[in-house]
Amino acid sequence: MKVIPIATAATVFSSSCNDESGEVPKLDLPLTRRSLLGGSGVLIGTLVAGSPLALLAPSTVWAVELKTLSKTEGATLLQMGRVLFPHKKLPDAVYALLAKDLDADAAKSADSAKMMRDGIASLNKAAGGDFLKAKPAQRAAAVKSLEGQPFFAAVRGKAITSLYDNDMAYKVFGYPGSAWEKGGYITRGFQDLKWLPSPTLEASPKPYFG
């Protein structure tokens, strides 16, 4: 599991993103901040204050830095992730991890960067010019049209680990992860299901407690 590398509030601005619409607006970062981060783009958003997810983060504001891809390219991949695996309850902060992981691949290999940029171009073309400005149905059709291509496979495959193996996803899907340090479930509800009749003691003996 990955812990979300969320920037502290000092590096970002509260006006930056509306997580409800998923829209990532233009950044309003001062140059000094941009040079501090030093990347090719930064994806920024906010978590809904008071949500359980906000408790996991040092701030309700998140920022994901890109090394190779532009902010628009990153935002496009983020939104492609939302079409591939649409989870209303997952915040953009999680989908931004997909962009970050794909960006890391692009930074490692020129071939990968080219595939990513060509793929994004195809996606824009299929969406009538600009994937980010396209309507949901157009976005869905554009993603579908790329199925079977290496770019699609790379994004879909990466999304499996980027989206589903991090602390926010665990929280959203109700999976607590590691159980060892909590003593397992022997006294924490491994047989607490009450909406079905209990098995016989022959089929399922009582747990041993000494």
Binding site: F85, P86, G189, S204, Y208
Partner: protein, 522 residues
């Protein structure tokens, strides 16, 4: 732990430290026989195991280069990962779920009972259940199998409650928390199960039997045992007389070493074992060692498998507790009225969110897939595991176009489902869905096979040398001091999880090797 010289040709070399190799090593050492065990993987411990699916996978799984071909769906979904087995001290006994069932009488006589089946290379085992019973009893005692030796069954978790409720409504009779090599009560210096839910990731509490912390330390205590982790055997050598004389291996520093041996026992699981025999081809044995029959690598079986997941209106939290402590055995019988030969087991299984995403429906995307993930806490799951047909064309071969980290040809795993496998899988899917519908499921899903954990048959036992690779003792037909000591020996697959039978065969093989050494036959 003992230390033996590389030129000591009195030692028995055991390749692999899992269910076969780890058990055989200990059994030989207990009889005073000196053993050098070469394990390709590194040593972990209960403390170093990780309750995290992907991290644990990287820690334990065999991830060396492998390729696939054939029409089975895995070749598309996980082309480079035909099997989910381990490269670590203790082998796949670190990862296994603990289900410990004896093969049934008729399964040892598959050819006789099932008859000739087109496209299947069925053969009776050269050994019967009756002959194996005393050894099964020893294995169950050694491993601490529940519902044997007075050991109580495990307490059922929520996932089992759902299975049980559905099974009873459907009219199934034989449903309980299984015969598990997981302590339900403290036994043999190991505690009882803490219901961690991470059986596949190496048991951190040590309640689940693994050679890592049972057989191997017991072997070490005899002073007759040397374990060499991170020692990857690349070749078995032989002398002019055609007997095996030692092995070549790469040590942890990537340096080539040569260990002499009085006998060599191969237990690298059913992909690496035939691969090593094929890699050891020489002028005298141009088709590989022990391969006069041409059967080395053939008849690869992986069990008929599949999973059913079901969503309910209310929470199940299936991830809590022992992963596989739940079974329905009613379909394990051989009854061709169902449209196929052989039978299958239905066993509880759960995955965490990371692996559910990877394995629920590989390659899938979109709202339907997302719906299943959104309902994760309300899911119950079962694994279907049954007998698959041995086929000569399902085989492990050397892929000259793909190399491993040592520059050696990678194994290619070719598999086409037999029509019997497909008919059985469809039946099992339907029955699994009915179980959950009976328990009130709002939706069910048929998950295709995972990368194989049950890999069998590639050096099979046969009465006649022309039909297989080893005799009823796991001794190769061609070379008296070369043994196969893992699931590769299986003549047919049976419906049951294979580990108990692998351990049983290893205990029995140790008696035979000791007797052969005493009589100077080897």
């Amino acid at each position: 732990m003992a230390k033996f010289d590389n030129n000591d040709d009195a030692v028995v070399v055991v390749i692999g430290s899992g269910a076969g190799g780890g058990t055989l090593s200990n059994e030989l050492c207990q009889k005073g026989i000196k053993v050098v065990c070469l394990e390709a993987g590194a040593q972990q411990s209960n403390a170093s195991f990780i309750n995290d699916e992907w991290k644990s996978f990287v820690q334990l799984a065999w991830l060396d280069k492998r390729t696939t071909s054939g029409t089975f769906r895995l070749a598309k979904d996980f082309a480079g990962l035909p099997a989910w087995i381990c490269k670590t001290v203790g082998g796949t006994t670190t990862h296994w779920a603990g289900a410990s069932l004896r093969l049934e009488d008729h399964e040892f006589k598959a050819r006789t009972v099932y008859g000739a089946i087109d496209g299947a290379n069925l053969l009776d085992w050269p050994v019967t259940l009756q002959e194996l019973e005393p050894y099964y009893a020893k294995a169950e005692d050694k491993m601490g199998v529940t519902r044997t030796n007075g050991i109580p069954g495990l307490p059922g978790n929520n996932n089992f409650k759902v299975m049980y409720a559905g099974a009873k409504k459907l009219g199934y009779k034989d449903c309980h928390t299984g015969n598990m090599a997981i302590n339900s009560v403290p036994r043999h210096d190991r505690g009882r199960c803490m219901q961690l839910g991470f059986c596949f990731q190496g048991c951190k509490s040590g309640a689940k039997w693994s050679t890592l912390y049972t057989e191997i330390p017991k072997a070490e205590a005899t002073g007759n045992f040397e374990l060499r982790p991170q020692s990857h055997v690349t070749k078995i050598e032989h002398n002019d007389a055609g007997k095996v004389s030692g092995v070549v291996y790469m040590d942890k520093d990537g340096k080539e070493q040569r260990q002499k041996a009085r006998a060599v026992c191969v237990a690298g699981n059913s992909i690496e074992t035939p691969r090593l025999l094929l890699l050891s081809a020489s002028a005298k044995y141009p088709d590989g060692l022990a391969n006069s029959s041409g059967q080395v690598g053939r008849n690869y079986m992986r069990h008929m498998t599949g999973s059913v997941y079901a969503a309910f209106k209310q929470p199940v939290n299936m991830y809590r507790g022992t992963t596989m402590a739940g079974i329905i055995r009613d379909e394990a019988r051989h009854d061709t009225k169902r449209g196929f030969a052989g039978g299958y087991e239905m066993e509880t299984l759960s995955l965490g969110v990371p692996f559910m995403a990877a394995f629920l429906d590989p390659g899938a995307w979109g709202p339907e897939f997302a719906w299943w993930m959104d309902n994760y806490t309300n899911l119950a799951g079962m694994w279907l595991v049954g007998e698959d047909m041995p086929r000569e064309s399902n085989r492990v071969t050397l892929n000259k176009d793909a190399k491993d980290q040592y520059g050696l040809p990678a194994p290619n795993v070719h598999f086409d489902d037999h029509p019997n496998d497909i008919a059985m899988r469809n039946h099992a899917f339907a029955q699994g869905e009915k179980v959950y519908q009976a328990a009130g499921a709002i939706k069910t899903f048929r998950t295709p096979p995972y990368p194989s954990t049950h890999n069998l048959g590639t050096c099979r036992m046969s009465a006649q040398a022309k039909d297989g690779v080893v005799n009823k003792w796991g001794q190769s037909h061609d070379i008296a001091n070369l043994f196969v000591s893992d699931g590769s020996q299986f003549t047919s697959g049976g419906a049951e999880n294979p580990t108990l039978t692998i351990v049983t065969l290893a205990i029995r093989q140790a008696d035979y090797i000791a007797q052969q050494m005493t009589s100077k036959a080897i």
